[in-house]
């Protein structure tokens, strides 16, 4: 029998590639013989752009690295810059606001993942349910920062703005209600035999493979690797919170699905604890060489001049290099900043989770069906902006 191989371009314009991913797929019938991801369609040169900007003016750029989890990226960047400057302590209220926003972002990102992953496998309804819940988070950000996707409110030394009145209660209500609402997804997907058939045993990774490929986030924890930077290398005082890092057993798509659902519940727990402990008070350190003075005081010359200098010239950092990693919703997000002592970074390297996680797709897709390839793109949870930067 003569076998013929079809070469198929999945993407860059394809409904299930989550952006402009192009997969060069060779098919034998419906079986994938080889799969080669071709990236770079969304390259914006963020790392290079940051070299010509002051540290503060890079914050909006970093939020656009992973556009589904904007605040999580700028958090990683801010923490790296703070480590470079040697800022150890920020006011507790600012720290809790950062934690709450980071966890809200994680929930938003996971909800969007659930929506698209479900839709890729043909389940239409969870898409709308998940986006309904994500909309609430977007509304929080809009109320707080005026922007929905990219709040852009983290600053070196604190946060730019406190939560508006009453928002703490709203967030508390949301965090209490979300686990209840998530029961809808459980009914629609978790116990659905078709969903189980589509996801169980698809894209299986062992712990060794996870380590070899350098995977992180739910991709690593799905295989049972206990690697959550919030626990392993705590930042923002994550070690004071009581939460569980869910781990999978089989390392397949279904396990990773369960883990992301559980992570949302754990994020709700963290948010509730942070709200309980959040004190009143300052949201910014008072070292006005690096941190913006409060807006209402800027009329005063004592504060106006440092504010002016910060905006126009920025601040200088000590010479050296710094590495800081955070647990972004999609995995390990690390900023590596080299400073030559000027107002601009000499070089910034962003280690994005999607970029590292995506490479494993050629291994996972080999020998699977075309439909599984779509499930795999979903389970890796890539954002192409995050891949290409």
């Amino acid at each position: 029998m003569r076998k013929e191989i079809i070469k198929l371009n999945v993407g860059p314009q394809h409904p299930s590639t989550h952006g402009v991913l192009r997969l060069l797929v060779e098919l034998e019938g419906e079986v994938v013989v080889s799969c080669d991801p071709d990236i770079g369609y969304l390259h914006r040169g963020i790392e290079k752009l940051m070299e010509n900007r002051t540290y503060h003016r890079s914050i909006p750029l970093t939020e656009r690295v992973d556009y589904l989890a904007g605040a999580a990226n700028s958090l990683g960047y801010i923490l790296a810059v703070e480590r470079l400057l040697g800022i150890e302590e920020i006011p507790p209220r600012a720290r809790y606001i950062r934690v709450i926003v980071a966890e809200l972002t994680r929930i938003a990102s996971h909800l969007f993942w659930l929506a698209t992953h479900g839709h890729d496998l043909g389940a239409m309804t969870p898409l709308f349910y998940a986006l309904r819940d994500r909309e609430v988070i977007m509304d929080f950000f809009e109320k707080w920062a005026g922007k929905r996707l990219f709040p852009n409110m983290f600053r070196v030394g604190g946060v730019a703005k406190d939560f508006p009145d009453g928002m703490e209660q709203e967030i508390r209500k949301f965090a209490e209600e979300l686990p209840e609402k998530m029961k809808d997804y459980e009914t629609l997907l978790t116990k659905n035999p078709i969903w189980i058939n589509r996801t169980k045993g698809v894209g299986v990774l062992s712990i060794d493979e996870v380590l070899d490929w350098g995977l992180s986030g739910p991709m690593a924890r799905g295989s049972g690797l206990d690697f959550d930077i919030r626990k392993v290398d705590p930042y923002l005082g994550y070690d004071e919170f009581d939460f569980v890092v869910p781990l999978g057993k089989n390392g397949d798509t279904y396990d990773r699905y369960l883990i992301r659902l559980e992570e949302m519940r754990q994020s709700c727990r963290i948010i509730l604890q942070a709200l309980d402990r959040m004190p009143k008070g300052d949201i910014m350190i008072d070292d006005y060489k690096v941190a913006f003075p409060p807006k209402e005081k800027v009329v005063n010359g004592e504060y106006l001049i440092p504010h002016y200098l910060l905006v126009v010239k920025g601040f200088k950092t000590p010479k050296g290099e710094v590495f800081h990693h955070t647990e972004a919703p999609k995995g390990e997000l690390a900023f590596y900043i080299v400073s030559d002592g000027s107002e601009h970074p000499y070089r910034v390297k962003i280690r994005t989770p999607s970029f590292v996680n995506l490479q494993v797709i050629s291994k996972l897709a080999k020998g699977r069906l075309l439909s599984d390839l779509i499930a795999l793109i979903g389970t890796i949870d890539i954002v192409l902006a995050d891949v290409d930067r």
């Binding site: 409904p15 309804t125 349910y129 078709i194 058939n197």
Partner: protein, 342 residues
């Protein structure tokens, strides 16, 4: 005027009425689907065109009609153009033999001073042609519908459409088989393959009571036949980007769309006729009962679409051959034994 000519005229009138009702049914069906899916999805659905958006389908139809009709420079141009026509026309065929009402005309009419007996050829009944082998005809012509999709997939010169075409061939051929087996039980219980007799045999009790397994199997096969979620593999937009109809636009696309919905109505109508007592029902006119029952099944199709993910291609095949076909055969044997004993 000979009786044959009268038969032809009456059948033509009935056909026109049935086709008009079917097209209207499709228009309402598309609207219903979008509204009910919207309801399931916690969103509005179309609500701008006319009261509650009921004119939305008509607006869409007009839009499709006036759109530019792009004919690709494909290799098999004739087949490429003919494929949607085949799909649209073959989808209408099975309704020839489906009885949609009890009696629509009197037993005899006086025409030009001559009494014509309308009971011959069942001219007075609500069926276009009361074929002696009605169910066989339906099974035969519903198999034809695979051609339209298959040709569309193969002649589009598009790899995605091609994959859709390959999928539809194996899907429909294997499900056709056990769709046939699943309704054999009904035929054994009734002892007839004439559709009107099957309906009349259910006067006291619907066939679903005797054939619950057969009904479930028929519905699963029906979902696969109509290529609806969870078995809509031929056009799954997430993998194949709409599959076989990717390269069609304007009225060619509309014909595929039409065919899909007529297919659902046909599958529902056959299910109603074989299992749910056809047009039989108290108080209301028989035609209305038929429409109500078909509409209920149609809504069921929509409901399933809002609930289930899509199965994988190989799982669809193994589901059909490994599980459903043996169950259908077992159902057939059990029914045979029961019929023999009673």
């Amino acid at each position: 005027m000979s009786d044959t000519l009268i038969f032809v005229i009456i059948s033509l009138i009935k056909s026109v009425v049935v086709v008009a009702l079917l097209l209207l049914g499709v228009a309402i069906g598309v609207y219903l689907e979008r509204r009910i899916l919207g309801f399931i999805h916690l969103r509005y659905g179309p609500n701008r065109c006319g009261p509650f958006g009921i004119l939305q389908t008509i607006a869409d139809g007009i839009k499709l009609f006036f759109k530019q009709d792009i004919t690709l420079p494909v290799t098999e141009r004739t087949l490429y153009v003919v494929a949607p026509i085949i799909a649209g026309v073959t989808a209408l065929f099975p309704f020839v033999a489906i009885p949609f009402a009890d009696k629509v005309l009197p037993d005899a009419i006086n025409l030009f001073g001559r009494t014509i007996d309308l009971t011959q050829y069942s001219m007075n009944r609500g069926v276009i042609a009361d074929l002696p082998g009605g169910i066989l005809f339906i099974l035969a012509v519903s198999s034809l519908s695979v051609y339209g999709v298959l040709l569309a997939g193969w002649t589009s010169d598009n790899k995605y459409s091609f994959l859709g075409g390959v999928r539809v061939t194996s899907q429909m051929l294997s499900y056709e088989l056990f769709l046939g087996v699943s309704i054999m039980g009904v035929l054994m219980v009734t002892g007839s393959i004439r559709m009107t007799e099957i309906v009349e045999a259910q006067k006291h009790m619907w066939n679903i009571v005797y054939q619950p397994v057969g009904f479930i199997l028929y519905m699963i096969a029906g979902f696969a036949e109509a290529c609806r979620t969870p078995f809509d593999l031929i056009e799954c937009e997430n993998e194949l980007g709409s599959g076989f109809n990717t390269e069609y636009s304007s009225m060619k696309f509309a014909l595929f769309y039409l065919a899909e919905y007529i297919h659902i109505i046909t599958i529902s109508a056959i299910a109603v006729t074989l299992f749910l007592g056809g047009w039989q029902g108290p108080w209301l006119p028989s035609g209305l009962w038929f429409i109500i029952k078909v509409a209920c099944l149609f809504v069921f199709f929509i409901w399933v679409r809002g609930t289930y993910p899509r199965v994988r291609f190989d799982q669809l095949m193994s589901l059909g051959w490994k599980y459903l076909f043996p169950i259908a055969m077992a159902n057939l044997i059990v029914t045979g034994v029961c019929v023999l004993i009673s």
